[in-house]
């Protein structure tokens, strides 16, 4: 039996494994490195970074929900300059493959961040988070507006396009995610990250008020997995040539394969790392084993196979 080819590509970036961390669920990698070498997984997607240091939203920032959780962090972070000075060198030293995630309040902020990262060596890809739900003004969720989404990606493309792949991270909280995806791909996104968290709320019955300090939060975990699979399936059907980084509630190799069959070229693991610090490595080995069991010779052969006619698995 031939060795399984487990590698994947996102635009012009090659990865030996399709298992990545999810932005905002691995900080900058230091803590998970206590449990496994960061080099062993496909890549580390860093927590979305903004131009300036940001303290984020008030506590409580978390509420557990059935098979999931709400978070309301609000893009807390050290700002791009400290990030480039401290976190990138650490990840390079760990031989991790790095996908930097950026977030901005304006179209210009995204372009500025991309320009700063253009001169930094060792980055495999750029994730443009235009869909963080934890902002005070829903109008700032670029990914809910086709025109704003396009303008952000266009600005980033002008700053860094052609250097490293641009991955646009989209929100499921829209009527037609395919239209948003089409718009950002037209504007120059090389790949898509689907999905960000789903906006939700929990009411605390002791106080009879919203539980989270920020009132609303992003729902993640297995509870949202079918939404993510659906979004990946719909977008892959419409844009079969655009690589998708699929995420939303993946906690086993079986879940990862489901997302890949729907059309994802790679998957990100988020909330599962909170449940289990070694989730990434166990999902990775489970997926590898499952692909072998199903008779695939390569990961590539499984990508999007749910779209093929029955009886035509590979």
């Amino acid at each position: 039996m031939n060795e399984l080819d487990f590698s994947t590509t996102i635009g012009n970036a090659w990865f030996p494994s399709p298992i990545f961390t999810a932005s905002g669920c691995a900080s900058s990698g230091r803590e998970l490195a206590q449990f496994f070498p960061l080099h062993d997984i496909g890549g580390v997607v860093t927590k979305s970074i903004m131009s300036k240091a940001r303290t984020g939203r008030p506590t409580p920032r978390m509420a557990e929900t059935p098979s999931g959780m709400l978070n309301s962090i609000g893009l807390q972070g050290p700002g791009i300059d400290v990030f480039i000075a401290n976190d990138i060198p650490y990840l390079i030293e760990q031989k991790a493959r790095i996908i930097v995630s950026i977030a901005g309040e304006t179209v210009e902020e995204y372009a500025t961040l991309a320009r700063k990262l253009r001169s930094v060596a060792g980055i495999s890809a750029l994730e443009v988070n235009i869909s963080c739900p934890n902002v005070d003004n829903r109008g700032l969720v670029f990914a809910c507006d086709p025109d704003a989404s396009r303008r952000v990606i266009d600005g980033v493309r002008r700053a860094i396009g052609g250097e490293i792949p641009i991955i646009a991270k989209l929100s499921p909280d829209v009527t037609d995610i395919v239209a948003i995806a089409q718009g950002v791909v037209d504007a120059g996104a090389d790949a898509l990250a689907l999905i960000n968290t789903v906006l939700g709320m929990v009411i605390n019955l002791d106080t009879m008020r919203p539980h989270l300090g920020g009132k609303t939060g992003g729902l993640s975990g297995p509870a949202i997995r079918p939404i993510a699979v659906r979004a990946v399936y719909q977008v892959h059907a419409a844009l079969p040539k655009t690589p998708i980084l699929g995420m939303g509630g993946i906690s086993t190799g079986r879940d990862a394969l489901e997302m890949i069959a729907a059309g994802a070229s790679a998957v990100s693991i988020g909330t599962a790392s909170f449940t289990n610090p070694t989730a990434l490595v166990s999902i990775q080995s489970e997926l590898r084993e499952l692909l072998r069991l199903k008779g695939f010779e390569s990961l590539q052969g499984a990508i999007g196979c749910a779209h093929r006619p029955v009886g035509d698995q590979q």
């Binding site: 900080s27 506590t59 978070n71 807390q76 790392s273």
Partner: protein, 278 residues
């Protein structure tokens, strides 16, 4: 920059004891040689609910004490109140149950290099880690006085064997059902003055910690407190358990209580800003 506890490991550990003590459960978990790495103040994060659980988050518990050479090898003791669905599941596990545990996590209480006078203040089952701490302080030659408080008698955790390392123990309940009627913070000011206390160690609800800090502010007394913020991961990646902390220049930042805490210097916490936007 603070980093995750360098001794932290994820292990499958056997529950070797589960005993009801008043409103709490005393759980003894076999952790082998990792017991040597656990310090008073450290905590653990445990998966709950089993394979098909709808509870996706670990539960964090302070280690109340460790034994490096029990008949089960190294063990740790947790005192758990079965309040929520996760802690109820844990308290319902029988001896022999295998648990997924990440241990040890977080910062530890600092132990004085000199045998000074110290005061330990615990609220509710926040008192649990103070008994293990008392043993370490007692071994260092410190005089250890302890105050425990709770709303009512059933919520006081004060095991007989824990009292050996303590020079004095006073109990306060808000309904007067055990010990003295009143709050555990009531006598602190006069004790600090009368006993020449060098360090106050505290563990319990955040309002109690804030009240103690108000008393120690402006004195030479060091206040080491174990903070409580709800955590999703316990290992520093989720950013939910943050609280506002001042650096030496007075700049505030939101630090993770799982990495920079749970034990913090009470004078650095911006208590009035906990739960606020900076």
């Amino acid at each position: 920059m603070a980093t995750i506890n360098k001794a932290a490991v994820q292990i499958r550990a056997t529950l070797v004891g589960n005993k009801r003590v008043g409103q709490y459960h005393q759980l003894i978990i076999s952790i082998g040689e990792i017991a040597n790495q656990c310090r008073p103040g450290n905590f653990v994060a445990i998966s709950v609910g089993g394979e098909s659980s709808r509870m996706v988050l670990r539960r964090a518990f302070a280690i109340s004490r460790v034994s490096e050479s029990s008949s089960f090898g190294g063990t740790m003791e947790l005192i758990v109140a079965p309040h929520g669905s996760g802690s109820k599941w844990l308290c319902a596990q029988g001896e022999g149950a295998v648990l997924d545990v990440v241990v040890p996590l977080g910062t530890a209480f600092g132990i004085p290099t000199e045998p000074v006078q110290v005061l330990l203040v615990g609220g509710g089952y926040g008192s649990a880690p103070l008994f293990g701490l008392a043993e370490v302080l007692h071994a260092r030659g410190c005089r250890v006085d302890m105050l425990l408080g709770a709303s009512t008698a059933g919520k006081i955790y004060a095991p007989m064997e824990g009292k050996r390392a303590v020079n004095s123990l006073r109990i306060f309940t808000e309904d007067g059902s055990m010990g003295q009627l009143g709050r555990v913070t009531d006598p602190i000011k006069s004790l600090i003055e009368d006993l020449d206390i060098a360090v106050v160690y505290s563990c319990g609800p955040m309002p109690m910690l804030a009240a103690i800090n108000e008393i120690t502010t402006g004195t030479d007394v060091i206040h080491q407190c174990a903070v409580e913020e709800s955590m999703a991961c316990g290992i520093g990646i989720c950013m939910t358990c943050v609280l506002p902390v001042k650096d030496e220049a007075g700049n505030l930042s939101m630090l993770r209580s799982c990495i920079d805490g749970p034990v913090m210097d009470g004078s650095t916490v911006a208590w009035e800003k906990v739960g606020q936007v900076l």
